[in-house]
């Protein structure tokens, strides 16, 4: 794992991979968008069901990004690997955006279907907590004069906060909520009609690819910025 997590190797491999990744991402986003408007309206929810094609993939990405953040934070804490640190730091803003998008699109879906923009039900509240965990992680990173202490404190918060991910997933089973029980990722297979399921899955793949592409670009940018800081420090040293 350490061999593959080498920053120089990451820069080489990601440079080759990035154009392909970006192209496939755009293709999937276009396909997902087209399919989400070609899907038939739901027999109960009508055309408002189209919000699902943005809301559900955002929710999945919010949880996937947090899982990645927790794994990268664990790797950074255990092995103190710079690439894991960078991966965690660059995952947090992406996860926060997807979580914010999930909350806003959910609110826009909730008003016509439930008659309310917001309710303190278990699923919505736990996703809001996830959003605050992302914000807290980013705030902690920059809260210390010593960046190492900031990274460590943020990594511990990321690991402790991971307990919220299964709570989000199973909140609809453990408590009575406005949300329906799991209908895609469940034992026994999805209960959604294929005409709606396929656009949803294509959009989910598109959001995942977008997340991976942006994460790779952000990690590359962060590695270059680190190199710039080292060169700056060397230049200041030479001048001093």
């Amino acid at each position: 794992m350490h061999r593959f997590a080498n920053p120089a190797r990451f820069m080489r491999v990601s440079q080759k991979l990035l154009p392909w990744l970006a192209t496939i991402t755009v293709l999937f986003l276009v396909a997902g968008l087209v399919l989400s408007f070609l899907a038939p309206p739901d027999y109960q929810q009508g055309e408002s069901v189209r919000i699902m094609f943005v809301h559900v993939p955002s929710a999945w990405m919010a949880m996937c990004a947090y899982t990645s953040l927790a794994l990268a934070s664990a790797a950074a804490l255990i092995w103190r690997h710079p690439l894991a640190e960078i991966a965690a730091e660059e995952t947090a803003p992406l996860g926060a955006v997807f979580t914010g998008l999930c909350l806003v699109s959910g609110s826009l879906w909730g008003e016509p279907m439930w008659g309310t923009w917001w309710a303190w039900d278990a699923r919505m509240t736990s996703v809001l907590v996830l959003f605050f965990l992302y914000l807290g992680y980013m705030a902690l990173l920059n809260a210390f004069d010593d960046p190492t202490r900031g990274r460590r404190a943020a990594a511990i918060l990321a690991l402790v906060g991971f307990v919220n991910v299964p709570i989000i997933k199973y909140s609809v089973d453990w408590w009575n909520t406005l949300h329906q029980p799991a209908s895609v990722l469940r034992m026994g297979g999805p209960t959604i009609d294929p005409s709606i399921l396929w656009p949803l899955l294509v959009m989910a793949v598109a959001f995942t690819l977008l997340f991976v592409t942006l994460l790779v670009i952000r990690m590359r940018a962060a590695l270059i910025e680190r190199k710039i800081r080292v060169l700056d420090a060397a230049a200041s040293g030479a001048l001093g």
Binding site: G46, V97, I217, L231, D232
Partner: protein, 57 residues
Amino acid sequence: MSFSTWVQMGGYAIFVWPAYGIAAAALGLLAGGTIRRYRMAQRRLAEMTATRRGEDA
């Protein structure tokens, strides 16, 4: 189905279009900001490398 009927989204247009608009804006800004940061970092590194090469020469 006519274009105007499609745009009305069965009466849910004020919910459906903002959901897609906000998603496009948020993800577009995120992607734009990420690419801009990456290009700026690349440019700055290229400038610094060129300056160092000039000094060494």
